[in-house]
């Protein structure tokens, strides 16, 4: 009994402390070092922050370069698929264009009316847009995020909204000098205050880690109010971070508590970062 315990101890000590010829550090040293890194990375000391930013800058750039061949292959693959579906796409787009032309007329009227109403309450919303390129969009099953090529040098700040053309895709959660990380709407940790229109109900859109999101924290049950109409979620602007009225997604017809995002997060190449400035002129 004592011998087997001794064997275990010897094997365990050997595993931890013994260095092989080509190993420069023992496992125990490196394990302690990694624990130290985990602890230190949570402190906001300036030196640690600078080291973190340095590591991020280097890693993101290197990853972008190393991923280039794989990205090229994926791009060619999607181009071939697009070519094969070109006629069907053309027919669908033609129909969609007709609908959009009709909607545009109504939208122009609503936009002017909205501006007039804001003038009446002496409030103006200014927003600046920064165009950014997606450097890394690796889809990890554990965290849905993308890396952009804009950072503090372009006056980016944590919390800014990121849109793909007009649809919201996420918010900035980490800013380095030349790049930044955006948490996508589909991530489990993403929570965005929205308003469901046309029923006018406030809610929160949460990510699920999958392709769709879910509607949470509504004041009352709204399934009965839907009545086969299309419910669209827009940012409510209640958090004070996002510009109100950015389209997020539409309620799924199968499950009224599920939201289908407008943007396809796998196809992001260029995005716009929106900074919000609400002025109350009273």
């Amino acid at each position: 009994m004592a011998t087997s315990r001794d064997d275990f101890v010897i094997a365990f000590r050997s595993a931890f402390l013994k260095k092989k010829d080509k190993q420069k550090f023992s496992l125990l040293t490196l394990l302690f070092l990694s624990i130290l890194v985990i602890i230190l990375s949570n402190y906001n000391f300036k030196v640690i922050q600078l080291i973190k930013i340095g590591i991020n800058e280097f890693t993101y750039r290197a990853s972008f370069l190393i991923s280039t061949p794989e990205n090229k292959i994926q791009k060619i693959n999607s181009q071939i698929k697009d070519h094969l579906k070109v006629y069907d796409n053309y027919k669908n787009l033609e129909l969609e264009l007709e609908k959009l032309k009709q909607k545009k007329l109504t939208n122009n009227f609503l936009k002017m009316e909205n501006e007039k109403l804001r003038d009446l309450i002496n409030e103006s919303i200014n927003s600046n847009e920064i165009l950014a390129r997606v450097l890394i969009d690796k889809e990890s099953p554990f965290l849905r995020s993308i890396i952009l090529n804009k950072g503090t040098k372009d006056k980016l700040k944590i919390g800014m909204a990121v849109v793909d053309e007009v649809h919201l895709v996420g918010k900035v959660i980490e800013v380095n000098f030349t790049n930044s990380r955006v948490l996508l709407l589909s991530d489990l940790n993403s929570k965005i205050p929205v308003v469901l229109e046309p029923i006018g109900m406030q809610a929160v859109v949460s990510g699920t880690g999958g392709t769709n999101g879910k509607i949470q924290y509504t004041k009352e049950e709204y399934s009965d109010d839907i009545n086969n109409q299309e419910i669209i979620a827009y940012t409510s602007g209640l958090g004070g971070l996002f510009k109100p009225g950015l389209p997020v997604g539409k309620i799924s017809r199968i499950n009224p508590h599920e939201i289908v995002f407008f943007s396809d997060f796998k196809q992001l190449e260029y995005v716009k970062i929106i900074s919000l400035n609400i002025e109350d002129n009273n």
Binding site: L27, S63, P141
Partner: protein, 172 residues
């Protein structure tokens, strides 16, 4: 002369294969899910580290594994140091298995691998959820662990082939 050069070049390629693949996998963060199958994912780095630190640790240094973990955390966006810690725990387990094993057996290795990845993923999930308060999908981690375990034999035969090439060339 040319044949000597060719030999040394292929020797270099084979000897740096484990490190090259490890860094390529963490920088690229690939999971081979090109078919975009819902829920399908597996941890290639875990398989690679387990195999090479168990069978031929001279070709995959602990410092490289530590650095690869740091890079993986930065790319995925997890708190820095967690992946390094998990990767090094795999190394500890493989070093222990190496010390207690007299005659290596594939089934034993495979079952040990399951135990180790379940353990380190549990540690990882606990740290993320309880200490860093990051919301995570437990089911996805479980499925990831399952696929990593199931796909181990395929990579085992591939890596074993490379390992034999390396050993053969070194002894040649």
């Amino acid at each position: 002369m040319s044949s000597l050069n060719k030999n040394s070049l292929s020797n270099i390629i084979f000897s740096y294969f484990p490190i090259g693949m490890l860094f390529l996998s963490v920088f690229n963060d690939f999971d081979f899910n090109y078919l975009k199958i819902e829920y399908f994912s597996f941890n290639f780095a875990h398989i690679l580290i387990f195999f090479w630190t168990l069978k031929n640790p001279d070709h995959l240094g602990y410092v490289s594994i530590f650095l690869a973990g740091i890079i993986n955390d930065v790319i995925i966006g997890m708190p820095i140091g967690i992946s390094s810690f998990c990767y090094l725990l795999i190394c500890t387990a493989t070093a222990y298995i190496r010390n207690i094993t007299l005659s290596p057996n594939f089934i034993n290795d495979w079952l040990s691998f399951l135990f180790i990845i379940l353990l380190i993923n549990s540690i990882l999930v606990s740290i993320l959820d309880l200490i860093f308060l990051i919301e995570i999908d437990y089911l996805k981690y479980l499925i990831n662990t399952g696929f990593t375990f199931l796909l181990y034999p395929i990579f085992f035969f591939f890596f074993n082939f490379i390992n034999q090439k390396i050993s053969f060339r070194l002894n040649d």
